[in-house]
Amino acid sequence: MNKLVYLGKRIALAIPVVLFGLTMAFLILYAGPLDPVYSILGRKASEADIQRLLVDLGYRYPNGQEVPLWDQYRMVMTDLFTLNFGQSWVVQRGRPIIDLIGARMSATIWLGWWSVVIALFVGIPVGLFAGLRANTFSDYFASAGGILWRAMPNFWLAVILSGLLSAGGALSFYRDWGADYGLATKVVGTPPEVNNLFNVIPLFDGIPVLEMLFLPIPELQNMAVAFKWILPGALVLGSASMGNEVRIARTAVLESINSKYVETARAKGVSARRIVFKHVGRNALIPLLPIIMGEFYLLIGGSVLVEAIFGINGLGSLYLRAIFQTDIPVIMTLTFIFTIILVVFNITQDLLYTIVDPRISLDDVEG
């Protein structure tokens, strides 16, 4: 089957899935026992104010009649799918949601990026190492570490780590590390440098359309500071996936190292390094793929707690604030964005499967 046809089919199948997920969220938020009017106006609101607000929020028509749930649903869904996200109700009343998200996005992306990268660059090598040295002390140590590491709740690790990093804690020296190079940082809160990671140089200043193209020059000093600042959170956020990666990489290596083609390669004199990277490594990657992709899933949920504990002003903490303050449009928009991201990653994962392992046909990965 052609890859494009397959892609089209997957996207067509994804539409009802996304719609179902969002409908569920809509019903919970709009038909459930929430009272946004109370959370905006408080207890002592006049009847007229309440009426005006209800019209404003789209619960009532200007003539005082209630908007049926079905019409609210149609309005909300059309707005979402036309990317018309509207304004925040409570968190920052009246501010366009797209602004709110834009301002907080970079912190979450920075945190998420490093959590994925650190987990990959620690978890996979450790797993490969353990697999190549199966049933030695170092293997048991690494495997046990992986098992415990993935059983630890993120939020607990975050609490313990932030406690140790705080003043008077065993790791409080971390904050002053590299002070000579301007790297003294805090560990709680959003690193302000996160918005200035790149120096944006416009390429075609003044020329219409083309002026949107730009060259991002990395600001290394800012990146180093922001990295050091966010590292504890990223470590915690990647912890569960790191444990998984150790386990899966280990078993994958064990499986492929005993296979005939590795034996053949060894017999014809291929170097050990080449065997590990070319023959074992690539095959070990196949079962790792869903884990790596699954990391994004864990990341979205985990960012809520990690950001809350480390005080990072990102999308996760925005979600939590919106939930506690009944800011329905913000919740709906974030749910929409996260859902779309997840579905896109799912489809990418299945496509990547067929690239990494050509034996898997496109029919196999369906469903």
Partner: protein, 512 residues
């Protein structure tokens, strides 16, 4: 599982019923039953009490839900009449429970009391078991209870063994192999032991703690403790609430650490919380809540997953696609976000009164957890649906429901068990995360919940009061590791060929 004899299946004459086999050779069964009876009598009250507590919550939750649904759709009258029925059932359960808890049990806090007071500055202890130090009395009781629980578990297993050796018709069934493989699987056995330990905590929690949830946490001002006061030089009487107030753990200066006494002669195995309550008692209460919620949630999602898995495999085509869409739709919203959303929406709603918020959590985990299990079951179910025996049953006119139950379910149930135990870890983690966030999410205060203890100790990690956050977290890690180990063991025992990572994601609790 699939191997017990069903007499109505008999095709030849030499099948005898279990009762006749028991009558022919009663000795092993009688010997087993005698020991079992002794074990049961020792702790009869605790067993009945525990069972009835769960039953009470289930009746309350289920009838409440039915009433609310009918009240919304049909009429308010039905709702009130159901509520009346509910109240009468509940009061009956309550009365049985209170008489059951009145039965003296051997390993209770009354027979081996640990709460006492000194008679002088270094003086002997009064009112504790044989005048022992409270620490020793408590240790003795805990040891006895844990030993007892493990003996009971062993004896139940022994019962199955005796049945297999003396009374089962078949010499061998596939279950024998599974159990033998699990027995020699050290990692799996470790998981079984950990799970048993936590079940013991949940069941015997009230007797394990140095004090009770009721006296120490729920109504501390309605209970009293006696202690030897160094200031007045005599034994004084104070409410538990006042004693708690002066035994807080809040960093340097005011701290009651693990394995120490507070100034009211009370012993705290895990130290105290920031509000002076006993952390060990709190953890035992939390174990009961956790195990109940996880049990209901797993049961619910496994039930839904099994039913839908077999239906989608049996009918396939459009039905399968429909279930797939719903399952994907539920998982398309990140689970933790969905959980936070729903619990926040229902915060303060009447449903959070059932099981102190645990019931809502259980339903939520059940409804959001089944897609993962369904995926695990669907493959094997599709395979078995294509077997000849299913075709045969269909062609001689057996009803689809019966085919699924008799010819497909036994094949699928193993996979269900494996993935259910693997997803238990995720539920435990996500549940404690919700309680950690607080603000009306999770289990409502003051009912103990592990996540809340971690939240309370958040600011004291680097102080002498480090125990508040650390110990509950370690217990969660232990339980989750145990559940994962059990899952690994079961997987290797049921199907030694497979080695896959599909259970990995579910074990992480959606990133909590």
């Amino acid at each position: 599982m699939s191997d017990t004899n069903t007499p109505n299946d008999s095709y030849d004459g030499d099948q005898s019923s279990l009762t006749s086999r028991l009558a022919a050779n009663p000795r092993p069964a009688l010997r087993w039953a005698a020991v079992a009876a002794v074990l049961l009598v020792l702790e009869f009250g605790a067993f009945i009490g525990g069972t009835l507590t769960v039953l009470h919550a289930l009746v309350l939750g289920v009838t409440g839900l039915i009433a609310a649904m009918l009240g919304l759709t049909i009429s308010k009258g039905i709702e009130t009449s159901i509520n009346e029925v509910q109240a009468s059932i509940l009061s009956q359960i309550d009365s049985v429970r209170s008489t059951a808890e009145g039965i003296p049990t051997l390993l209770s806090r009354e027979t081996i009391p640990n709460q006492g007071h000194r008679l002088g500055p270094d003086g002997p202890w009064a009112e504790t078991f044989m005048g022992l130090e409270p620490r020793l009395a408590w240790l003795l009781r805990v040891t006895l209870i844990v030993v007892y629980a493990f003996v009971v578990a062993y004896w139940l297993f022994r019962g199955w063994d005796i049945f297999r050796i003396y009374y089962r018709q078949a010499d061998w069934t596939p279950t024998d192999d599974i159990i033998n493989r699990l027995r020699s699987h050290r990692w799996g056995v470790f998981g079984v032991l950990i799970i048993l330990l936590f079940l013991t905590m949940a069941l015997f929690g009230p007797a394990l703690g140095p004090t009770t949830v009721e006296a120490n946490i729920q109504s501390p001002y309605g209970h009293y403790v006696e202690y030897y006061s160094n200031e007045t030089g005599q034994v004084e009487n104070v409410t538990v609430g006042n004693a708690n107030f002066n035994s807080k753990s809040k960093g340097a200066g005011t701290n009651v650490g693990p394995m120490s006494y507070d100034s009211f002669d009370r012993f705290h195995p895990f130290g105290t919380l920031t509000n002076g309550r006993d952390l060990f008692t709190f953890m035992m209460g939390g174990a009961r809540t956790t195990i109940t919620v996880v049990g209901i949630a797993i049961g619910m999602s496994a039930g839904i997953a099994a039913a839908l898995g077999m239906i989608s495999a049996f009918y396939s085509g459009t039905v399968d696609l429909g279930v797939l869409t719903v399952a994907d739709g539920i998982t398309s919203v990140p689970q933790l976000l969905l959980l936070i959303m729903v619990s926040a929406v229902f915060a303060g709603h009447w449903i959070t009164n059932v099981l102190n918020g645990g019931f809502l959590l259980a339903i939520l985990f059940g409804l959001t957890g089944w897609p993962g299990l369904w995926r695990a079951v669907r493959g094997p179910a599709l395979q078995v649906a294509q077997e000849e025996w299913v075709d045969a049953a269909e062609s001689f006119g057996q009803r689809p429901a019966l085919i699924m139950w008799k010819h497909m379910f036994p094949y699928v149930v193993g996979y269900l068990l494996v993935y259910a135990s693997m997803s238990a870890g995720g539920i435990i983690i996500a549940m404690s995360a919700l309680s950690f966030l607080g603000n009306g999410l999770g289990v409502t205060a003051p009912t103990p919940a592990w996540g809340r203890a971690i939240d309370l100790g958040q600011n004291y990690v680097s102080t002498p009061s480090w125990h508040i956050s650390l110990i509950p977290g370690l217990m969660i890690v232990a339980l989750v590791t145990g559940a994962n180990a059990l899952g690994d063991g079961l997987r290797d025992a049921i199907d030694p060929e497979t080695e896959s990572g599909s259970g990995e994601q579910t074990a992480a609790g959606g990133g909590a």
